[in-house]
């Protein structure tokens, strides 16, 4: 088991098994993406490249561990690649430098046109040596107006790799499609669509390319779907009883039950990792604040006491971290991402001075989160570690990109 914060990784350049440009190109991509992936995990230290180039060239099949020990490396990650007829084969080996012991040896093959996939797979395999689940193959769903139709308010749902690459469109209906939420198995996305004029909750089976309307026959407007951690239930806000309340239904939309009925606006439900509680936004005390209740809609407690406007709660899906990220208006007119400890109610502010940042969503491991930041009409998606020490804006492509939801 690799321990957090202790190991110093050396990831030398990938060694192509053949001298052709295609093999070298795959190698370059694998080196670059694997380094970025493992750095993003925020668990290890790394030997700087300047030190790695100071030691004699390595024979990948027979590394001189003493050299690596000499520059302070404790874990050595060796990668090799070759391309034959458009098919790439990538190998990764992980050694403890101290003993030379091999901890992991994997070989991947597939089409050579997207070598990032091999690096992501390798990163997640390295992460199996830790107690955490890797983030490299996770996807982020988001909303963008990049394919808008002139003269119409159109936004569609897209998914992309966690690092912002390979965006793909999920909805194609030339209306407003917003607030995506992943199912825990990563096969479906719940979202709100205005395709029939009225906002309703849909669930898209992204690999089958179809969407089911969950709330269209119930009347009223429906918003902010959130699928339960076991994938069997879905919470959302609906005005079908006259006022915007939190409802919970089976994942196919059947047997809806109303959980809240204060007469105030209740919305933005998010499930606790055990599925026993739901946090949500309510205006019952005058300004929007975050509340927590059980799945019967009882035992309601107010969670946030700081800030005049707190909305869009996202419960950290890891049981290890009892915390909820949310959109907060703290001192000034802009919004920032804040995180509240559900037990002590202590608040930490994650963003500052980036315009407004909204709609936080956690990675499945709960060790990172995503949100959208913008000024004026320019909105882009950011990712950060859970303490907000490193915040990176993703290359999410053209248009206004917002409301990210981090999925499996």
């Amino acid at each position: 088991m690799i321990q957090e914060g202790v190991q110093r990784f050396a990831i030398p350049d990938c060694g192509p098994r053949k001298g052709d440009e295609a093999s070298r190109e795959v190698c370059r991509a694998v080196t670059q993406v694997l380094r970025a992936d493992l750095q993003f995990e925020n668990l290890f230290k790394f030997v700087p490249q300047s030190l790695m180039s100071a030691i004699p060239p390595m024979d990948p099949e027979n590394p001189n561990f003493a050299d690596w020990k000499g520059i302070g490396a404790s874990v050595l990650v060796i990668t090799r690649a070759q391309v034959t007829g458009g098919e790439a084969t990538v190998e990764v080996r992980v050694h403890f430098v101290d003993t030379g012991q091999s901890m992991l040896a994997k070989r991947y093959s597939g089409p050579a046109d997207n070598p990032r996939v091999f690096a992501h797979q390798a990163s997640d395999d390295v992460m199996t040596l830790t107690q955490y689940r890797g983030v490299a193959r996770t996807k982020i769903a988001f909303v963008s107006d990049r394919d808008r139709v002139p003269g119409r308010a159109t936004k569609e749902i897209y998914i992309m790799d966690y690092d912002g690459y390979n965006p793909r469109r999920v909805t194609v209906n030339r209306s407003l499609n917003i607030l995506p939420n992943w199912s825990p198995d990563g096969r479906s996305l719940a979202y709100v669509s205005y395709r029939r004029g009225n906002p309703d909750v849909f669930v898209a089976s992204i690999y089958e390319g179809r969407s089911a309307d969950l709330t269209g026959d119930k009347g009223g407007a429906a918003f902010a779907p959130a699928i339960s951690p076991d994938g069997k239930r879905i919470a959302y806000a609906s005005s079908r009883a006259g006022n915007m309340d939190i409802w919970v239904a089976n994942i196919d939309g059947s047997s809806p039950r109303r959980l809240t009925s204060t007469g105030a606006l209740d919305t933005a439900p998010t499930w606790s990792p055990t599925g026993q509680e739901i946090a949500f936004t309510s205006g019952r005390s005058g300004s929007p604040q975050i509340y927590v209740m059980d799945t019967e809609g009882l035992n309601v407690r107010r969670l946030t006491n700081v800030g005049s406007w707190n909305d869009a709660p996202a419960w950290n899906p890891s049981k290890q971290f009892g915390e909820i990220a949310y959109t907060a208006r703290l001192e000034n007119r802009t919004f920032d991402i804040a995180v509240v400890d559900i037990a002590t109610r202590q608040v930490r502010q994650l963003t500052q001075g980036r315009g407004s940042c909204e709609y936080p969503s956690w990675a499945p491991s709960g060790r990172h989160l995503t949100f959208a930041c913008g000024r004026g009409g320019k909105w882009q998606i950011a990712v950060a570690d859970r303490l907000g020490q490193t915040i990176t804006m993703l290359p999410a492509g053209p248009g206004k990109n917002e409301q990210p939801d981090w999925g499996p």
């Binding site: 105030a264 509680e277 019952r284 019967e296 559900i342 037990a343």
Partner: protein
């Protein structure tokens, strides 16, 4: 009504004997004319009266609607006030508890009302142990409940109750023990925990929720008739609570 009686009078008048002289007829005709005038007056008055009655009726309807709305608003305000009051009470008792702690801890007290966001991460090293043991224990118990460590949470809530049997959070701790057992699927123990809440904290603000949850738990045990008794009790005792509304729904699905 008045008009018809007057006409009956006219018919009787016309039926007087034939020996009546022209003068009499003339007088009668004058009387008829006078009566007709009176009838018209009476009809006008009747219509006026009806209009007045309708107007009064309309005013009354309006006033009723207004009163109903005012009452509704008032109820909403009461709910909001109660929520605010409860939150205020919670904060006060939390502060009281903190202030009761020894001086070093009190010195490190992060004023909750003004507690701005700690820019760029967690509290400073000196702030970490600021929460007094009672609050800390209670928080820890909930943290463990949220993690799904129900057994540990039950132990911690019990520990809390042993040390602090009569704070503003004691009834909550007892309620949570029921919640922990419920989440574990230990329904009999959950019911027992809530029964103990009813016995030990008869003034608890958790009673409506606990009694409703006891009903839900009984249903899960297949004891539907007993569950209905609980729902009925919730409706009767706490008709305006969230639990009351849910119980009504259970009774009239």
């Amino acid at each position: 009504m008045i008009g018809r009686f007057a006409l009956a009078g006219v018919v009787i008048a016309l039926a007087t004997p034939a020996w009546a002289v022209n003068k009499d007829i003339e007088r009668l005709q004058m009387q008829i004319a006078a009566l007709q005038g009176q009838i018209a007056d009476l009809q006008r008055t009747a219509e006026d009266n009806q209009r007045e009655i309708k107007r009064l009726g309309d005013t009354l309807t309006e006033q009723n609607a207004f009163l109903r709305k005012a009452l509704q608003d008032r109820r909403l305000q009461d709910d909001a006030l109660q929520t605010a009051l409860k939150e205020f009470g919670d904060r006060v008792s939390e502060l009281e508890e903190r202030l009761q702690q020894p001086a070093p801890a009190a010195a490190a007290l992060p004023a909750p009302a003004a507690a701005g966001p700690e820019a760029g991460g967690g509290p400073g090293p000196g702030l970490a142990p600021a929460a007094p043991p009672s609050r800390e224990l209670y928080s820890q118990a909930y943290a463990d409940y949220a993690r799904g460590n129900y057994d540990l949470a039950i132990q911690e809530y019990r520990e809390y109750l042993r040390n602090y049997p009569s704070t503003d959070l004691s009834d909550n701790a007892q309620y949570w023990i029921g919640e922990c057992y419920f989440s574990k699927g230990r329904y009999d123990d959950a019911i027992e925990a809530w029964n103990q809440l009813f016995r030990d904290y008869p003034a608890s603000d958790k009673l409506p929720d606990a009694r409703y949850k006891k009903g839900v738990t009984l249903e899960r045990l297949g004891r539907r008739r007993e569950a209905l008794v609980e729902y009925r009790a919730v409706v009767e005792r706490y008709p305006n609570s969230e639990a009351g509304r849910k119980a009504r729904e259970k009774l009239n699905p």
